[in-house]
């Protein structure tokens, strides 16, 4: 692995600037999501290839940096990932886009919880700070549906963090701020949801 930060970031930016594959309707048979598998569909699916996903490429790079590199590379990686998310999220794709990106973040987070990953605290602290800024951004840009998805995923991570003994004060703070912001911006449902998540963060 090359430890050049600018090279790493450039590489990631190039990958992540490709359009997301989610926009089109990818013709690929996923067994888990189809209740009933028809023979004809199965025959058709024989040569189907999933579209190459820039997100997965980027995620691979970040995970690789977590395995070998210093934490700073991971930090830059996450930063680039989130930047490209904020760049791409809009009124139409807010739910699906948020879901895709947060799944990547979730994988990074799960990797960070591993026993021999030394920077768990740093990673979690960094992610919490990012979540705070992103949540506020989403509310300010009236992307409340995306924010709902974002909130659910973040609180799942927060709950897991509380169980692992990681500090959740930043997340609590974020949820509280989000609640106030959402109320001010006229999204009472989102505010209620944030409050509910805040109260349930440490119950296990």
């Amino acid at each position: 692995m090359n430890y050049d930060t600018s090279l790493y970031v450039e590489n990631l930016q190039k990958i992540l600037s490709e359009p997301l594959c989610i926009q089109g309707n990818p013709q690929y048979l996923d067994i888990s999501s189809s209740q009933l598998i028809e023979d004809e569909l199965l025959r058709e699916a024989k040569d189907q290839v999933p579209p190459s996903d820039p997100l997965i490429k980027g995620l691979g790079l970040i995970l690789e940096s977590m395995e070998k590199g210093p934490f700073d590379l991971t930090r830059f990686g996450i930063n680039e990932l989130l930047k490209s998310y904020l760049f791409k999220v809009n009124e139409e794709n807010q739910e699906y886009c948020t879901m895709c990106y947060l799944n990547c973040i979730y994988q990074i987070y799960l990797y960070g919880l591993m026993e021999y990953y030394p920077f768990t605290d740093l990673l979690w602290e960094y992610l919490s700070l990012c979540f705070h800024a992103m949540g506020i951004y989403l509310v300010d840009h009236k992307l409340d549906k995306g924010c709902q998805v974002f909130l659910n995923k973040v609180s799942t991570m927060g709950k897991l963090a509380a169980q692992k003994g990681l500090h959740t004060s930043s997340i609590q703070h974020f949820l509280h701020n989000l609640e106030i912001r959402a109320n001010e911006s006229g999204f009472p449902d989102l505010a209620d949801n944030a409050k509910n998540h805040r109260f349930n963060l440490e119950t296990f």
């Binding site: 990681l166 004060s169 106030i180 912001r181 001010e184 109260f199």
Partner: protein, 381 residues
């Protein structure tokens, strides 16, 4: 009544009675001693149960104390669960308790009736002072039995002063003063888990009126606090008082709640001519078992209609202040601290469950009339 009974007994000497008059008192005494033995075994039974319960409670308490040494990780959820667990072991189920108590009471009544009854049967007038002397053992016996009953009762009901120091009530586990006084543990790390934060909120009607709230993630209480909020270098708000909570049992389920989450304590309100961008807050915590207060320094920065700390507060032990708490008064023994208004106000530091605040600092505070009480109730949010 004794006279008539004696006369019937005299009759029975002739041989009409089923029991021989010579044997009967001995049988009765044997019954009484049998009952006494049973009472003794109930005592053993109770002590076995209590012993087991004590062990459990001690284990939970120990686990709780061990937790407090690990301040680097987040233990709020664990502490909450431990206090709840302690509460669960603490209450003795109501039904068996009532049954055991009834058994003990009946037993003791029977014994006393037999003792006193027998003495009355063999009482022969006239009354002489010697009788009092002779019935002295009986009086001592009655006293001892009643005392034994009291002992058993209080072992079953834990909420009493007798066992309070051995088995603290669950609410004591949230009391910082108790933890710091009776148990040698780091108050700082326990308080860290409580995650005290300050929130300054603009009023809904008047945005110049700012409300100060102390938020606690876990409701630790029973301490004295001193808070000074300043804008730049000019102090604009002072509040001090005692934090103590009373959480009634849940109105719906009836479960006791020794500890709560997300508690908000209103500390007072003040007015500024414009909404501030940044405030600095110094928060001192005085507990009964320590001599140096714990100092929190918060930097509150602006959200939209509120100010809240952006980063973790700086928590230190302030070695410049030495205090002691006597007769519910905080007595400042040494004060080299540069915190404005602190030393001057120290004569008002009473622990009476009230929270006082001063909002117009430039008007002077020599009169306690300027002190206002924050009447607003603690709420969960």
């Amino acid at each position: 009544m004794p006279k008539t009974t004696v006369s019937t007994w005299k009759l029975s000497e002739k041989g009409d009675s089923v029991f021989s008059d010579k044997i009967y008192p001995y049988v009765m005494l044997a019954v009484a001693s049998g009952l006494l033995t049973l009472l003794g075994s109930v005592g053993i039974f109770i002590s076995l149960i209590v012993q087991r319960r004590l062990e459990r409670l001690q284990d939970v308490l120990e686990e709780f104390i061990n937790l407090s040494y690990r301040s680097e990780i987040n233990l709020t959820g664990k502490m909450y669960n431990l206090i709840e667990k302690y509460q669960m072991h603490y209450i003795f189920p109501q039904n068996p308790r009532r049954m055991i108590l009834r058994y003990i009471d009946l037993n003791i009544i029977f014994i006393l009736v037999i003792w006193v009854g027998l003495l009355f049967l063999y009482y022969e007038p006239p009354f002489s002072p010697e009788i009092i002397l002779r019935s002295l053992p009986l009086i001592i016996g009655i006293y001892a039995t009643l005392f034994f009953r009291q002992l058993l009762r209080s072992t079953i009901n834990l909420e009493n002063p007798l066992l309070d120091s051995i088995i603290p009530a669950p609410t004591k586990l949230r009391s910082i003063s108790f933890l710091s006084r009776f148990v040698n543990l780091s108050v700082k790390s326990v308080l860290k888990q409580a995650r005290l934060t300050l929130l300054v909120k603009a009023g809904t009607r008047d945005s110049h009126k700012l409300k100060v709230l102390l938020k606690e993630e876990l409701s630790f209480d029973d301490f004295f606090y001193f808070l000074l909020i300043s804008e730049g270098e000019t102090p604009c708000f002072v509040s001090f008082g005692e934090i103590s909570f009373h959480f009634p049992p849940d109105p719906v389920t009836g479960k006791p709640s020794p500890v709560r989450r997300n508690v908000n304590v209103p500390l007072g309100e003040f007015t500024l001519s414009r909404f501030p961008e940044e405030l600095k807050a110094q928060f001192l915590v005085f507990t009964k078992g320590e001599k140096h207060p714990i100092q929190y320094v918060y930097l509150l920065s602006q959200g939209t209609s509120y100010l809240s700390p952006n980063s973790e507060p700086d928590i230190t032990v302030n070695h410049q202040i030495i205090y002691t708490i006597k007769n519910d008064m905080v007595e400042i023994l040494e004060c080299e601290s540069k915190i404005p208004h602190f030393c001057e106000l120290s004569s008002f530091f009473h622990l009476n469950g009230e929270r006082y605040y001063l909002d117009r600092l430039h008007q002077g505070y020599n009169q306690s009339a300027n002190l206002k009480t924050s009447h607003e109730e603690v709420f969960i949010d």
